[in-house]
């Protein structure tokens, strides 16, 4: 690209250096989070495989170590989305918006995993893939579709500031559903079992110690995976925003720039 085109991208030098820092191809922090997540995952899988069989469900109880951690991780991700959305509305920091969106997107992924593994487990234990009368299943599905709407809204607004404000509002409004999903099994008499550990009478856990340790390991692994995926997603959003800015400021498009990435986002 010629020096003339480069000077026409009228960015100030200080923003240039900051971008260069955040867009550097490899970040040691993200990579080490990923490695840690992989190690925790291996440990969790090993502990899940060596856990004893359960009295009634036999082998099938091992689904506990993927279904429950993914549900808790989804709650955490959507909660992080809420906190950062509030933070954005108070401070108007673009970083908070990016983290909020990333956390919610990964939260949607974990909600989907929760629903799918729950359906598989339900097919084995209850005998049905889906049950309309069950408050936990139905409310989780509703939550999932609402946050799909959130992601759709995000895609259809191009102005970053408008998008950030409106999505922050939606992220706050939508989180109201999370406690409803969680407490639905206590409030209503449904098919889904009640909580085993985080229950009103905390001292009386209804789970053998032999299951608690693998569950904890799996939960730690899922939270590490969540942190890694959110970090990667934030970095991707930054990079794509930079590509968009470069594409819009350095017209006509040079050979190295390629088509505007707004089409593919």
């Amino acid at each position: 690209m010629s020096p003339a085109t480069r000077s026409s991208t009228c960015r100030r030098p200080d923003t240039m250096t900051r971008e260069t820092a955040t867009l550097h191809p490899r970040s040691r922090a993200i990579t080490s989070t990923g490695v840690a997540a992989l190690c925790l995952m291996a440990t969790g899988l090993y502990m899940a495989a060596t856990a004893p069989d359960e009295e009634t469900q036999g082998e099938a109880a091992r689904l506990l170590f993927v279904h429950v951690p993914s549900a808790i991780t989804a709650y955490i991700a959507l909660g992080a989305g809420l906190v950062t959305a509030v933070w954005y509305l108070i401070r108007r920091s673009p970083a908070a918006d990016l983290v909020s969106a990333a956390a919610i997107e990964v939260g949607v992924l974990f909600t989907a995993i929760t629903l799918l593994t729950g359906m598989i487990w339900g097919r084995f234990v209850w005998g049905v893939w889906w049950d309309w009368g069950d408050a936990r299943m139905v409310s989780t599905a509703v939550l999932f579709f609402f946050y799909l709407g959130y992601l759709a809204l995000r895609r259809s607004i191009s102005d970053p500031r408008v998008r950030a404000v409106r999505c922050a509002v939606l992220g706050i409004v939508g989180f109201v559903q999370v406690p409803i999903v969680h407490y639905s099994v206590l409030w209503f008499r449904t098919l889904h079992q009640g909580p085993s550990i985080i229950r009103p009478d905390l001292a009386n856990s209804t789970m053998d110690a032999a299951f608690v340790a693998p569950l904890g390991a799996a939960l730690a692994a899922f939270i590490a995976i969540l942190a890694y995926l959110v970090a990667v997603r934030v970095r991707l959003a930054r990079l794509e925003a930079a590509v968009d800015r470069a594409a819009s400021t350095s017209q006509p498009v040079g050979a190295s720039v390629g088509p505007p990435s707004g089409l593919s986002v």
């Binding site: 509305l89 509703v142 609402f146 759709a152 809204l153 409106r166 409004v173 939508g174 109201v176």
Partner: protein, 226 residues
């Protein structure tokens, strides 16, 4: 701003929206007949099993009110277009007052839709039992209020987007599920002469939560539609 001035503004927006509806009339002339048509067609889809129709009548009524009413609410609850909006902003309209006024107007329109459709549902589906009319009225009022608040909240979020006709319902209808449950199941228990207090309280809680969220976030939401 003093409380009385705030409520005065709410009243202004409310009467303005209703006047627009009286003169334009999208709700009564288009949405209501469409919803009535849906009530008429649903038995064709389920088959004419009279016992089944008796049981699903109240649920169908509220499903239709939510699906078709929500499109009305998303239209009328949207923030005003161009010149009107600028005028309201210039005259110092509190965004929260605007939000509440629009929501109330939408709720009144939805109540109208429900009033028209209820006798139709009773005639077509013949639900058994004699309903407790007091409970039904309370449930309907709380239900349409919640739908109105939800509609104008979501309408503001999709203002000016090309995809708003598809996106609005996708965002609003999952959040309207408690309204569907509470009104349909509550109508069931009102018809079978059991009280519907818990369903009514659920709707009241939802209304209050929406009022709080809407009033708190009306400022930021309005700034993006200017």
């Amino acid at each position: 701003m003093t409380p009385s001035a705030f409520w005065q503004q709410v009243r202004w927006v409310f009467t303005k929206d209703l006047r627009v509806e009286v003169r334009g009339g999208v709700t009564l002339r288009m949405a209501t007949p469409f919803a009535a048509l849906a009530l008429l067609l649903a038995p064709l889809a389920t088959g004419t099993d009279t016992a089944l129709l008796r049981r699903i009548g109240p649920g169908m009524l509220w499903l239709v009110v939510i699906l078709f009413g929500m499109t009305v609410t998303l239209r009328s609850g949207a923030r005003e277009p161009g010149p009107v909006r600028d005028l309201l902003t210039l005259s110092g309209l509190d965004p929260a007052a605007g939000f509440l006024g629009r929501s109330l107007a939408s709720a009144v329109l939805l109540f109208g839709v429900t009033l028209v459709l209820t006798p139709l549902m009773i005639v077509l589906y013949a639900p058994e039992g004699r309903p407790g009319w007091g409970w039904l009225a309370l449930l309907a009022v709380a239900g349409v209020m919640a739908l109105g608040l939800l509609g104008s909240l979501v309408a503001t979020l999709v203002t000016g987007l090309r995809e708003r006709t598809a996106l609005g319902p996708l965002l609003a209808i999952p959040l309207a599920v408690p309204v569907l449950l509470a009104t349909a199941r509550g109508t069931d228990s009102a018809i079978s002469q059991q009280g519907s207090l818990s369903w009514l309280l659920l709707l009241v809680a939802m209304n209050l939560a929406l009022v709080i969220v809407g009033v708190l976030l009306a400022g930021p939401m309005d700034e993006t539609t200017r």
